[in-house]
């Protein structure tokens, strides 16, 4: 039940979230924004060859991450899930280590940035192949059910474009038939690189696909972290309680080009982006918390300084790390020493 902050300001439907949690969500969003800026900046400076931002997805990710139960749930994110990664415990230093491809990156500089892995935190390693990870997420959920680990669920995220893939279909269907504890979160930002939603599917909402699998589907405002929290929390709770899978669609937007390799001016107008910018979830949520009296202007400034410092420190610390050694190219192909031609004592 929503409780109200005693101090000044508008009443806030906080969905049971404490002040601390609300501020954590805002901080996550601010940190995302800062890290995104940093990635694109480093790319322009020629320091890193590639970056990709979550701008426009900050709210849905901060909200969804707040619904994640650390130490129990598993997150199977996609490459645009900076805020989910941060929200479940990954650090700015890990993100920067990946951007700089340093030895402190968990993939040892092998993967593109934004291809998260963190076994300790329950963040599954992902590839670049759109929707390939969805089947794995289902497998993790199947393992939970197999071992009768009630109270655990999987949060699997994709963009709306990914739902066109056959593997997405097979994943959702498998999870439905086997009633597995999993939530398919679809961050619908209207675009898949240059392909708009209407060239990707004929339905207005990705959530409209849920009944085809006999599943509940929900649509939430992906520009509101609280709305996203409510929708994802409900779905994860259902899954944890044995109620099976569901689809949650969060309507958001991609403010930036797809990545530093893309130039979105070729396929969408500046005006539409400006229209969407007016709804920018980051300043909006800051305002919501200020108006509800959860924070004041000073605290807001403080938070921004904090995340800037955190980003700066992480940048410096990561950049100071060495590259992986050339020898590391040959390790962890399979367990032990690996050669396709084996030599034995003869």
């Amino acid at each position: 039940m929503p409780k109200t902050t005693a101090t000044r300001g508008r009443e806030l439907d906080r969905a049971g979230l404490s002040d601390e949690q609300l501020v954590a969500m805002l901080r996550n969003m601010l940190l995302q924004r800062q890290l995104d800026n940093r990635g694109f900046q480093l790319n322009r400076q020629g320091k890193i060859p590639f970056a990709l931002g979550s701008e426009g997805h900050e709210a849905v990710q901060a909200g969804a991450a707040m619904a994640f139960k650390r130490g129990a749930d598993v997150l199977v994110p996609y490459y645009r899930d900076l805020g989910l990664a941060l929200g479940v415990g990954m650090t700015a230093f890990e993100i920067l280590s990946s951007l700089f491809a340093r030895v402190t990156d968990r993939s040892m500089g092998r993967q593109f940035p934004n291809h998260y892995t963190n076994h300790d935190l329950g963040v599954l390693s992902i590839s670049s192949i759109i929707a390939g990870h969805c089947t794995h997420a289902v497998g993790v959920a199947a393992a939970f059910k197999y071992r009768r680990e009630a109270g655990r669920a999987v949060l699997c995220a994709t963009g709306e474009g990914a739902t066109s893939q056959g593997e997405w279909h097979e994943s959702v269907n498998y999870a439905a038939v086997h009633a597995l504890p999993i939530v398919f979160l679809v961050e619908n930002n209207e675009w898949a690189i240059s392909t708009p939603q209407e060239m990707q599917m004929k339905v207005a909402n990705v959530a409209d696909k849920a009944p085809a699998y006999g599943l509940p589907g929900a649509v939430c405002d992906g520009f509101s972290p609280i709305a996203a929290f409510i929708a994802v929390h409900e779905a994860l709770e259902r899954a944890r309680g044995g109620g099976g899978p569901s689809i949650v669609e969060a309507k958001c937007y991609r403010f930036l080009s797809h990545s530093t390799d893309d130039d979105d001016r070729t396929y969408r107008s500046r005006e539409t982006i400006e229209e969407h910018r007016k709804l920018d979830p980051v300043p909006r949520f800051e305002q919501v918390l200020i108006e509800a009296g959860v924070i004041d202007e000073a605290r807001a400034r403080q938070l921004k300084q904090d995340v800037l410092r955190e980003t700066n420190d992480a940048t410096d610390a990561a950049e100071a790390q060495p590259y992986p050694t050339t020898e590391s190219l040959y390790t962890n192909v399979v367990a032990g020493d690996y050669r396709p031609w084996q030599e034995f004592e003869s």
Binding site: S127, G139, V334
Partner: protein
Amino acid sequence: MTATTQQQTGTTVMTNVEAVRTTLHDALVRDDRVLIMGEDVGARGNVFLITKGFLEEFGPERIVDTPLAEASIVGVAIGMAMEGLRPIAEIQFADFIYPAFNQIVGEAAKTRYRSNGDYTCPMVIRTPYGGGVRGALSHSVSIEALFYHVPGLTILAPSTPADIKGLLNAAIECPDPVLFLEHKKTYRSVKGEVPGGYYTIPIGKADVKKAGTDVTVVSYGYNAHQALDAANRLESDGVSVEVIDLRSIRPMDKTTILDSVRKTRKLLIIHEDNKFGGIGAEISAMVAEEALFDLDAPVRRLAGPDVPAMGYALPLEEEFLISTDEMVQAMRDMAKF
């Protein structure tokens, strides 16, 4: 057969299909992280009856009938493996593994590498392959060459019941993904002694099924049995052929092949799979790199023709497959060279 961990409790004679079945059964009994998933593995007991009775014994949680969707069969198994289970996924016929190619090549084979070991993918994909059973275009193919180029994958193709048991156990133990190929034609036609108790055979180790001095023959699957027959036939003619059964396609056993070739100085590779780009190519190339001057004759590959697959009509199947007579002839020609 080279058995490493072997608790001998007598041997039993069984067919290849029985060897797969009992090994799977024992694995289910031994390790509750092991489960079997695929199309029609439950009540039907798999289309070759390999898992017959398993559903009743182990229940639907461990013997999982999946929807008809190969990418998810493999992909879901990957997720299970990443989360600590030991799934054994079945592809009903090797011809239907193509839709799962992305999951095998793009995902399973790269899981450990891309995460630098943060996650691993210990799983087995079993599938029946090969022809000679009137399976026509789409129930007869060999698939090993489509996968053997892929780092991170292990590919096994044992041909005898004892090797099947030892290598299937090794595959289930293996901390990385294994593609386990079972030649359909050997399922019921091949019988052999199988040691009791649990044992594994080292992955990557070939087996000299018959020693010889004049020609080295490298083969695997059903062809290995024919090659052995052919070699035995030639004994009376005074032609001594060494027959190596690869058993393991990736990794492959350099030592056994080179030792043999350096002795016989002649190499004949036999496989049912199409010739161009088949695994015989890599074997020949390795030998041309390492032992070129030890060769007294050109390396020869006796392999399937470069057409998509054998046909349904008997003459087309027979024409595609390598007969034992053709093997005898090729061995004789090599010996004479």
